[in-house]
């Protein structure tokens, strides 16, 4: 599958997309999940997030997708600063979380056709996406009737229906059987070879080579109180 980014600052296929993070910090309630997080990622590269449950992997992925605002720090997409609303980056991103993001009442094809149209992809990619994840047999079944593994493959199919440079995958191998995991690895490698990028939070090895980032290195050692402006007189 040729990958060609649609609306994109530099529209050439081999775009030099880069994602940089400086001193990112994320707070949950009274506590910092991580702080002072820096990383940089260019096209054709993969970043694998490690760390125990609750160390902030999902929060970091949602932050990169522009679904939440960082407590501190700044994100740069292709060198341009990303505003807190995530505008400019959100349109370049796919986020595959734990829930399928599909309507249970609709069939697999209806769901994917909607996402193709909504996310600015092309409906002619539908067949190729179903084929890539071995979903042709289930195409007309309502997503609600599918197993967790099958639903996971449908949400992964959305990555192919509307091509975007940056994939954010949150434990994508969950509920996938072994040969589907190979299929996933193949998809990621093809995406990356075509100039795409990916940030993947995973516990199981994916068989793709990429830089590792362990969120435990960025936990503040002292359980420092999250900086709540209304606590300023605690210093």
């Amino acid at each position: 599958m040729m990958f060609h980014p649609t609306k994109h600052p530099t529209s050439s296929p081999k775009a030099r997309t880069t994602l940089n993070a400086q001193a990112l910090a994320c707070r949950r309630g009274q506590r910092f999940l991580f702080a002072g997080l820096d990383f940089s990622l260019e096209h054709g590269r993969i970043l694998i997030l490690r760390g125990p449950n609750g160390s902030g992997k999902t929060s970091l992925l949602r932050l990169l997708a522009g679904l939440s605002r960082p407590e501190a720090g700044q994100l740069f997409w292709c060198g341009m600063a990303v505003p807190p609303s995530g505008a400019g980056l959100s349109e370049q991103v796919h986020y595959v979380g734990h829930s399928s993001g599909m309507k249970a009442a609709f069939s697999v094809t209806d769901n994917l056709r909607f996402w193709a149209r909504y996310l600015g992809g092309a409906e002619d990619r539908l067949e190729a996406s179903l084929e890539a994840l071995d979903l042709e047999a289930l195409a007309h079944l309502p997503v609600g009737a599918l197993s967790a593994g099958q639903q996971r493959r449908v949400s992964l199919a959305r990555l192919l229906v509307a091509p975007r440079p940056l994939w954010l995958l949150d434990e994508p191998t969950v509920a996938l059987d072994s040969d589907n995991q190979h299929r996933l690895t193949g998809l990621i490698q093809t995406h990356v070879q075509n100039g795409g990028m990916a940030v993947i939070a995973t516990h199981t090895p994916l068989g793709v080579d990429g830089a590792n980032l362990d969120l435990r290195d960025f936990q503040p050692e002292a359980q420092h109180m999250a900086h709540d402006p209304l606590l300023a007189f605690e210093d």
């Binding site: 522009g66 349109e91 979380g97 399928s100 993001g101 309507k103 249970a104 009442a105 909504y118 959305r158």
Partner: protein, 222 residues
């Protein structure tokens, strides 16, 4: 951008009528609520005719309230709200699209059926037409400002009951001018004045509702 907007409206409308969709329930609720009134105030034609406008409007308000809860909650629970945010539309336009889809799938059928229920309430021909137009012009406001309350309720996780408290005070102007238009037929005030207020309410809320809903949805995503 526009294609995404309309595809979202179409999807939500189809959702309303798909298996598990609430559209059918809302219409049934509207019918049952209206038919309760004669049991309450008595079958006397003269009384029913006088309060018919109020009955039709209050039933429409409650029907809208009933269906607001699912406007964003379903998308929040199955994760599609995340992907909708990553689409080309800003969150306020997503809210506008969903509010319009809610109006088209949930409230428009009520408006079309209202003359039928008007008959049950001995409404005369002239007021029947006015009620139909008033509902057509005024009910969009219910979905539009309702979207803001529904979005706030999503951020609260189990906020369904909260919606009624948040939105009913804001429905009062629509109710006043809606019923006012019907009563104007029998000489109490002017129909066109009430209609123009009703229409302006829908327009004001067409801006205010989605803006507030967009902000509230961003809260829910955090």
């Amino acid at each position: 951008m526009l294609a995404a907007f309309f595809s979202l409206i179409l999807r939500d409308m189809r959702l309303g009528y798909a298996q598990g969709g609430a559209a059918g329930l809302v219409i049934a609720f509207y019918a049952i609520t209206i038919s309760l009134f004669p049991f309450g105030v008595g079958p006397d034609a003269e009384i029913l005719a006088r309060i018919a406008g109020g009955v039709l409007w209050i039933a429409a308000l409650l029907a809208a309230l009933l269906s607001l809860d699912r406007m964003f909650q379903a998308d929040f629970e199955d994760g599609s709200l995340d992907s909708l945010t990553l689409g080309p539309l800003p969150l306020s336009l997503v809210a506008l699209a969903k509010a319009l889809a809610h109006w088209l799938s949930m409230l428009l059928p009520l408006v079309i059926l209202s003359p039928l229920f008007g008959l049950m309430l001995h409404l005369d021909g002239a007021s029947m037409r006015v009620v139909l137009i008033a509902l057509l012009v005024g009910t969009p406001a219910l979905s539009l400002i309702g979207a803001a309350a529904a979005a706030l309720a999503v951020a609260v996780r189990r906020g369904g009951a909260l919606i009624a408290l948040l939105v009913l005070p804001l429905y009062i102007p629509t109710l006043i001018f809606g019923v006012g238009a019907v009563e104007a037929v029998s000489g109490l005030g002017s129909v066109s004045a009430n209609m123009s207020f009703l229409g302006s309410l829908s327009l004001i809320f067409a801006v205010l509702g989605p803006l507030a809903a967009g902000g509230a949805l961003r809260l829910a995503l955090e």
